[in-house]
């Protein structure tokens, strides 16, 4: 009764063709192959592609190009390597470290869950390799083409099927539960040690950084306590046959060392910046300077059951220095000082900074949100905005009439429309109904939510409607109080958050990936804890990211958080630092109570309504400053809410999907 086909790739004409040509491509690749191949005995390069590139920052000009190889080892093992070229970085800002951070070495396809291909009509094709752990590598752009051959080659060596739900996703070794298999192999008893100790056979080009160099005072105490806690972690049986996963850990370890270098550097800087005093105080059992902060930390302290690895960056103290006190919201009088006589915002950066630190008075949100969301340009005049408003209203009405004019007879033969409408109608009646604005039977604002969402699903038919959108629209309509204006503000927001709702979930995957990298950078003991407890997929943060914490705070606080995030003042991705800040605030409970994945998910869901927003914003600010460029490098280009990188097709389409 449902489409169960598409389990095989043979239905794809392109695919079949590429397979036929596979050998031709292979020969061509071989001819470009240099003599420097240093594969181990019995290994055979079955695919080689030059100019495969990643974009480590949101700037398309900053890229790292390298060579992608598939290596067959023995009779059944397929290994993927992507090694950046030496000294050919497009931009001096990309250091040697960036290259090493992103190097993919010795990743076995037994640890790969799926490969997602993107073949935009304009721009470069790329693939995203998703590991069984749920982590994904940054997109690999094939500047010289070759995605099809890549997939064809993979298919020759491992079991590859096309996902029934997304024709662009190819599942690897899907005949048994790969997640369980790989996660249990990642949970090697010595996982932490492997990541912390010099790796014997790795030719990591991190030569300038001897692995033990950073074992200075702060670091040393950390590693001893983390090994202690490691010893207490429940251990699973170690199957030597799974040792290949060490090579995956090797990848992690590069990042770990990178993170340690940063954090120990920070630690040294802190000492130089007068933190020595604070440290001394602490050593003598004196309370930290900021007593309100202390209260929070006391309250969230774990019952001291299990020794918890200390926070490597002395987080509470950083906040004292960098997380500025929150200010009062921007009010009407002050707002006027930002505008010239014709209503232009004179210094948008100063305005964004002001809002970043204090938010906006509620009655000012209507004009200010339109700027923050990008619906109005900062340099537009009052008159221009009035004009735009009228033009856009007409435009909105036109799109709206498209679905309004669908007759009952037409709808009968228009399944996609009927189902989309049904889904929207089901969701708007359960969106924020406890807020008086949306309360009661036959509420006119609930009808407006429906109309706007349905119109949006025609405006952006490829993306359509997805659960969570009604949560994002609700505060916008509440603030704008106007159907057309709300629609266009929502459109502007979806320009940035649309990928969250995309069929292939690429926006969510890149955010979860970036979050895991940031936690690794900013709290490696917590990262190691997640790794050992099968929590690296960070799915427990899914709701936070999908709808920008909409369900985690009460309505007024959500609006405050959103306007702060939308300033993009310190970073476009402050929301990721908000995630890290919340996790760090509860890290001692998470690790102390030894939460497993289920318990952690329940715990995180249960935090809803109980998070102190102002404190978290200060923490997030501090973390963002503290992570600096290293933090920015953790976030793949195009990660929402960055604007999407490709100019062509924005949303993956699939003809055979229902909604």
């Amino acid at each position: 009764m449902q489409e169960a086909e598409l389990h095989d790739l043979s239905d794809d004409a392109d695919y079949a063709a590429s397979q036929l040509q596979g050998s031709v491509y292979m020969t061509r690749s071989d001819s470009t192959k240099t003599s420097s191949t240093t594969e181990p005995e019995g290994a055979e390069v079955v695919y080689l592609k030059d100019n495969v590139t990643i974009h480590p920052t949101q700037f398309a000009s900053e890229r790292i190009s390298g060579r992608l190889k598939l290596i067959k080892q023995g009779s059944s093992l397929l290994i993927m390597n992507w090694i950046p070229y030496k000294g050919q970085n497009s931009n001096a800002r990309l250091s040697e470290k960036d290259r090493n951070l992103y190097t993919i070495r010795g990743v076995s396809f037994t640890d790969v869950r799926s490969i997602r291909r993107h073949t935009p009509t304009l721009g470069w094709q790329y693939i995203i390799v998703v590991m069984s752990s749920g982590l994904a590598f940054p997109p690999l752009y094939f500047y010289s083409g070759g995605v099809k051959e890549f997939l064809a080659t993979v298919k020759q060596h491992v079991f590859l099927v096309r996902s029934a739900e997304d024709a662009n996703v190819f599942l690897v070794n899907d005949f048994e539960n790969p997640l369980q298999r790989t996660l249990s192999s990642l949970e090697l008893p010595r996982a932490v040690s492997v990541a912390n100790v010099p790796l014997p056979s790795t030719s990591t080009p991190l030569g300038e950084l001897p692995p033990n160099e950073n074992q200075d005072a702060g670091d040393g105490s950390r590693s001893s306590s983390s090994s202690l806690y490691n010893g207490r972690t429940r251990q699973k049986v170690h199957d030597p046959a799974r040792d290949i996963s060490i090579q995956v850990l090797e990848k992690f370890s590069l990042v770990t060392r990178f993170a340690r270098e940063t954090t120990s550097q920070l630690f040294r800087e802190s000492l130089n910046n007068g933190f020595a005093v604070a440290n001394e105080r602490r050593a003598h059992g004196l309370s930290p300077v900021n007593s309100s902060h202390k209260l929070v930390h006391e309250a969230e302290k774990a019952p001291e059951e299990v020794p918890v690895a200390p926070d490597p960056i002395e987080f509470d103290k950083l906040t004292l220095v960098w997380g500025q006190p929150r200010q009062a919201p921007l009010g009407l009088e002050e707002w006027a000082t930002y505008l010239d006589s014709e209503g232009r915002v004179m210094d948008s950066k100063a305005l964004r900074k002001r809002i970043f630190y204090g938010g906006v008075d509620h009655h000012l949100r209507k004009p200010v949100w339109a700027f923050l969301l990008g619906y109005h340009a900062y340099d537009s005049t009052d008159a221009e905005r009035d004009y735009l408003k009228r033009v856009k209203k007409t435009e909105y009405e036109t799109i709206k009439r498209q679905w309004q004019s669908v007759s009952a007879e037409q709808a009968k033969r228009f399944t996609k429309f009927r189902e989309r409408k049904g889904l929207i109608e089901k969701d708007v009646v359960r969106t924020d109904r406890s807020i008086s604005f949306y309360e009661g039977d036959d509420n006119v604002n609930v009808h407006l939510l429906r109309d706007i969402l349905l119109t949006y699903s025609f405006y952006n038919f490829d993306l359509g409607y997805c659960q969570g959108m009604s949560d994002l629209l609700s505060p916008i309509l509440f603030v704008m109080e106007d159907e057309s204006e709300s629609f266009w503000c929502f459109v502007a927001l979806m320009e940035r958050l649309g990928p969250n709702f995309n069929r292939d979930q690429n926006g969510m995957h890149s955010q979860l990936f970036a979050l895991s990298k940031l936690v690794e950078l900013l709290d490696s003991p917590l990262h190691n804890y997640f790794k050992q407890n099968d929590c690296l997929n960070y799915f427990f943060c899914f709701r936070w990211l999908l709808i920008q914490f909409k369900r985690e705070f009460e309505y007024g606080r959500v609006m405050r958080l959103w306007e702060v995030l939308w300033t993009h003042y310190l970073s476009e991705h402050l929301h990721l630092y908000v995630c890290v800040a919340i996790l760090k605030r509860y890290r001692n409970r998470i690790m102390g109570e030894q939460m497993d994945f289920d318990t952690l998910l329940k715990f995180i869901n249960g935090l809803s309504g109980g998070i102190d927003l102002d404190a978290i914003l200060r923490d997030a600010e501090a973390l963002c400053i503290c992570a600096g460029e290293n933090g920015a490098a953790c976030i793949p280009p195009g990660t929402p809410p960055s604007l999407p990188i490709e100019n062509g097709l924005l949303y993956a389409q699939q003809d055979d999907e229902v909604l």
């Binding site: 996703v169 048994e176 189902e419």
Partner: protein, 206 residues
């Protein structure tokens, strides 16, 4: 022995958006119904202690987002499940037609060791609406489908009125217990499990 944890039975509720998954779970666990549940984002679960033949178990009931687009998350949430509950709305034909899809999706993502015999239970929810006058899926039709999929137990429920919810979940718990591999059961009287298994065929097959 006393220090061992009480046995955990994991149950996953699947079905189209808006068929009443969250409501069923809350009606069973908290004996409450609300018109104001929000659409589930991501996943959540509730637990309930259940007694079965003098033994206590913890039933962990997972509620997931119903929109197809979020199914890729399933792999993290479905693993280790002991029973899968498929829910449809008797007033919405499409939600019934999609049961097959949900069943297959679950088997792919959870990859249970014995997919042929993995326990499912089907619930036809919202039988209260309009006094049953708006229903479009007949009980006969639903039962025929259940029979064709290896005699899946079938219940008609109303989460709003609490109708048949307790009975359905007792059957769900019993089937989850049946699925639990014997070596993981630490109590010495494993014969009880076999007893429970036999009882199942008379107790909750419709």
């Amino acid at each position: 022995m006393a220090s061992r944890r009480r046995m955990l039975l994991k149950v996953i509720i699947l079905g189209d958006s808006g068929v009443g998954k969250t409501s069923l779970m809350n009606q069973y666990v908290n004996k409450k119904f609300s018109n104001q549940y929000k659409a589930t984002i991501g996943a959540d679960f509730l637990t309930k202690e259940v007694q079965f033949e003098d033994r206590l178990f913890t039933l962990q009931i997972w509620d997931t987002a119903g929109q197809e687009r979020f199914q890729s998350l399933g792999v993290a949430f479905y693993r280790g499940a002991d029973c899968c509950v498929l829910v449809y709305d008797v007033n919405v034909m499409k939600s019934f037609e999609n049961l097959n899809h949900w069943r297959e999706e679950f088997l792919i993502q959870a990859s249970p060791s014995d997919p042929e015999n993995f326990p499912f239970v089907v619930l036809g929810n919202k039988v209260d609406i309009d006094g049953g006058n708006s229903r479009v899926v007949s009980e006969k039709k639903a039962k025929a489908w259940c029979a064709s999929k290896g005699n899946i137990p079938y219940f008609e429920t109303s989460a709003k009125e609490g109708f048949n919810v307790e009975a359905a979940f007792q059957c769900i718990a019993k089937n989850a217990l049946k699925n639990e591999p014997e070596e993981e059961i630490y109590l010495p009287d494993t014969i009880d499990v076999a007893g429970g298994q036999q009882q199942r065929s008379s107790g909750c097959e419709c």
